[in-house]
Symmetry: C2
Subunit: 183 residues, 2 copies
C-alpha cells in the first residue's frame, strides 16, 4: 500500500475520476438522454456530499485511506457513505485507520484477482454513537484465516465488533466506536 | 503563501472546483441550453489537457505552484495553458518555481484588493526551447518598484528575460529557458 501521495498524485487521480464522470455526461448528452444526465449529476452531488461529510468527521488519516483507496489497482474496490448528523472522530482517527487498514489487507488476501470484489462502507455518525458497517461482496478464499484475524481484532481501545455474518460470497461486519462524552 | 497542502486539502479544493463546473452544466441543462453544455464540457476537457501537459513537464514544484495558486484568496487569480509538444523541465524546476513565486509575490503587492487582477501564463514547451509568457491584466500600483524587481531578476542560471512591456493596467513579460542539449 502506498503510504504517501503527493498533491500532484491527488490532482491527477481526481482529474481522472472527474473526467470519467464528464465523459459519462457527454455520452448521454450525445444520445439525448437528458433524464439520465440529470440522474448522473444527482449521483455526483450525492457522492460529493458523502465525501464532504467524511472529511468533516475530523479523522484525517481515515478519510484519506478511504478517499485514496481505489487509486491503486487492488483486488477490492471500495465505496462509502456517511449517514447521521456527523461528529468529531479525531480522537479515534489512528485506531480506526489502523483497524480498517488491517481489515482491508486481510480482505485483499481473501479476494480473487479474476473476480470483482467490492466493499461498501456505511458510517453511521451520530454524536451519541458511531457504527461502521462493512458490506463485502466477492470471493472469500479462506474463511478460517479471516475468522482468526477477526478474533484478534474484535476489540480495541475504543472500538469493538458488534455484528458479523458470513455466507458464501457475502460478508458483513459491524463495529461500534465507544466515545467518551464531554462534560 | 501556504507552503504545504495535505491530500485532503487538495481533494477538498478539487471537489469544490469540480462541483462548480457540475453546477454550471446543471444550470444550463435546466434552461435546455444543450449547446452551451457541450461548450462547457469542451472547455473542461481542454483545461484538463493543459493540466495533464503541465504535470508531464516534470517540473513538480512549478506544476504544484500553478495548480494550487487559486486555492487561497489572493488579489490575483491565475490561469495557464501549455502549448507545444512538451519537454522535460525537471532540471529547471527549482529555478523556475522560485522565479515565478517571486514574480507572483511582487505582483500581489502591485494588485488592488478592490479590483480583479488576472495573470494568464502561456508555457510554450518545445524540446528545442521553452518560453513562458505572462500576461497580466489589473492594477499596477508602483511601476518603478516592479521595474526594480525585474532588473534584479532578469537573468538566472538558465532563464532570462526576453521581452517586457507595460502599459497602464496591462503588462506582458516573457522569459526563456536555455536548455542544455543532450548528446
Amino acid at each position: 500500500m502506498k503510504e504517501k501521495w503527493s498533491i500532484l498524485d491527488a490532482l491527477r487521480h481526481s482529474r481522472h475520476d472527474w473526467l470519467n464522470k464528464i465523459q459519462l455526461i457527454k455520452g448521454n448528452l450525445a444520445l439525448n438522454k437528458i433524464e439520465r444526465v440529470h440522474e448522473i449529476i444527482e449521483e455526483i452531488v450525492r457522492d460529493m456530499q458523502h465525501e464532504t461529510k467524511l472529511t468533516n468527521l475530523g479523522a484525517k488519516q481515515f478519510a484519506e485511506l478511504l478517499m485514496t483507496y481505489n487509486w491503486e489497482a487492488k483486488k477490492i474496490s471500495i465505496s462509502y457513505e456517511v449517514l447521521g448528523d456527523g461528529c468529531d472522530l479525531s480522537a479515534h482517527d489512528s485506531e480506526l485507520t489502523e483497524w480498517c487498514r488491517a481489515f482491508l489487507q486481510v480482505m485483499e488476501q481473501q479476494a480473487d484477482m479474476n473476480r470483482e470484489s467490492h466493499l461498501e462502507i456505511s458510517i453511521e455518525a451520530f454524536d451519541a454513537e458511531v457504527r461502521l458497517f462493512f458490506d463485502y461482496s466477492g470471493t472469500i478464499s479462506d474463511e478460517n484465516a479471516f475468522m482468526e484475524w477477526l478474533n484478534t481484532h474484535e476489540r480495541g481501545a475504543s472500538l469493538c465488533l458488534e455484528q458479523f455474518s458470513i455466507h458464501k460470497d457475502e460478508m458483513t461486519v459491524a463495529i461500534k466506536i465507544a466515545r467518551k462524552h464531554q462534560g
